[in-house]
């Protein structure tokens, strides 16, 4: 029985602290029975939760039996957060606290599935983000498209057939974070297949350039991630992309421009993890203009 220590401060930047404990170099689970020990966990955000959900789902698909330990600490704010997100109810059948309920600042982690993920964008995500920020839904058209592009990439590239999305509003920082995770082929593997030997971070960087496509589907033209990049400067949101041992962080720099910074992880994330950070005070939404005739 493998004991998996849930990281103490669990954000997307600690994701490989978890995945390196459960996934071997051969890409398979390290053991067929694992206990997730929550004793050290003192802080977790939506990103950490997304990684945790994706990991547990992947283990289930691989027929690994999992148990939890040291998770009933009602005094722990991290445990209460997970409890309010429905984490324990979903995995053990009951919440830690009878009062646990989804917070108004949370769109709890859910699977990305072919059948309804885009419907979720229109009927759950847009009304929620508009209500949380007081900004009209139409102003989030570009952000909606960015998330739709990531959904499509997940559904096209992930042989695991599912990923997860979680949305969290941090009112004290006026920030909304949207985290999407899948345990699929990963951007570096897809890009290397077509463009040759590039290290993981370089491959992610290359994937964000216009016209660079893994050609996972015949009509794919490599627009999705480059479109996402173009939205960073324009909307003032930040984006972090982690895939295998590569990480790309992208920030707006002013005048509709943005910068990309690549770096390397000590361990690898067996798929793709993308987090959008929207600073509500500085966010520049899409112009809500009259619909007009398109000029070719």
């Amino acid at each position: 029985m493998l004991i998996v220590q849930v990281p103490r401060q669990f954000t997307i930047y600690k994701s490989t602290d978890l995945t390196s404990q459960i996934i071997g170099q051969n890409g398979y689970p390290i053991d067929q029975e694992m206990t997730f020990d929550f004793a050290n966990l003192s802080w977790i955000d939506g990103g950490g939760l997304t990684v945790l959900e994706n990991a547990l789902s992947w283990l289930r698909v691989n027929n690994v039996k999992t148990w939890f330990n040291n998770h009933s600490r009602r005094s722990s704010s991290a445990i209460c957060y997970l409890d309010d997100c429905g984490f324990f109810r979903n995995h053990t059948g009951e919440p830690i606290r009878s009062s646990a309920k989804c917070r108004g600042t949370t769109l709890a982690c859910r699977k990305i599935e072919h059948t309804d993920c885009h419907q979720w964008l229109d009927y759950t995500f847009l009304p929620w983000i508009s209500g949380s920020t007081g900004i009209q839904q139409g102003a989030f058209a570009s952000l909606r498209t960015c998330i739709s592009e990531v959904f499509n990439n997940t559904l096209d590239h992930s042989n695991f057939e599912s990923g997860f999305v979680h949305v969290q509003f941090y009112p004290n920082r006026n920030e909304i974070r949207v985290t999407l995770s899948d345990f699929g082929r990963g951007i570096p593997n897809s890009i290397r297949e077509r463009y040759g030997q590039l290290d993981d971070a370089e491959a992610i960087l290359r994937a964000t350039e216009e016209g660079v496509s893994a050609k996972s589907t015949p009509r794919n033209q490599g627009i999705g991630l480059s479109y996402l990049m173009s939205c960073i400067g324009r909307t003032k949101m930040s984006v972090a992309i982690i895939s295998y041992a590569g990480r790309l962080t992208c920030f707006p720099t002013g005048n509709n421009l943005f910068t990309r910074h690549k770096s390397y992880l000590d361990s690898y994330y067996p798929g793709t993890l993308i987090e959008f950070s929207i600073d509500v005070r500085n966010f520049i939404g899409d112009e809500i203009a009259e619909e007009e005739e398109y000029s070719w």
Binding site: H114, H118, Q119, L121, D122, Q137, G138, A141, S142, R144, T145, S148, E149, F151, N152, L155, D156, E210, G211, T217, R219, N220, Q221, G222, I223, G224, Y227, D286, E287, A289, E291, E292, E293, Y294, W296
Partner: protein, 97 residues
Amino acid sequence: MVINILSIVSRCDTHADADIVYKALKSALTVHGRVKLSFAGVSSISSSFVNVALVPLLDDMTFSDIQNRVTVANIAPQAADMIKRCFNAALNKNKAA
């Protein structure tokens, strides 16, 4: 001939949505020669959608033919931007080939 996108698909995100629109568009072009494609009520469209619904028209028609025979109406700025990006990418690729 007018095709209202939202009368044949619920949204413009996936290959499946796009395939329905492409077939309707091709059929209408064959029968009527010219088509007005209305995106009324659509706030955003994905590259997957444009790459399957519209870009394949270039397989059978020149870009100039598309400009003359397909009118895109009632389109939101984000959606117009995505169509432009996808066609630019396809035309640049054809130029390079």
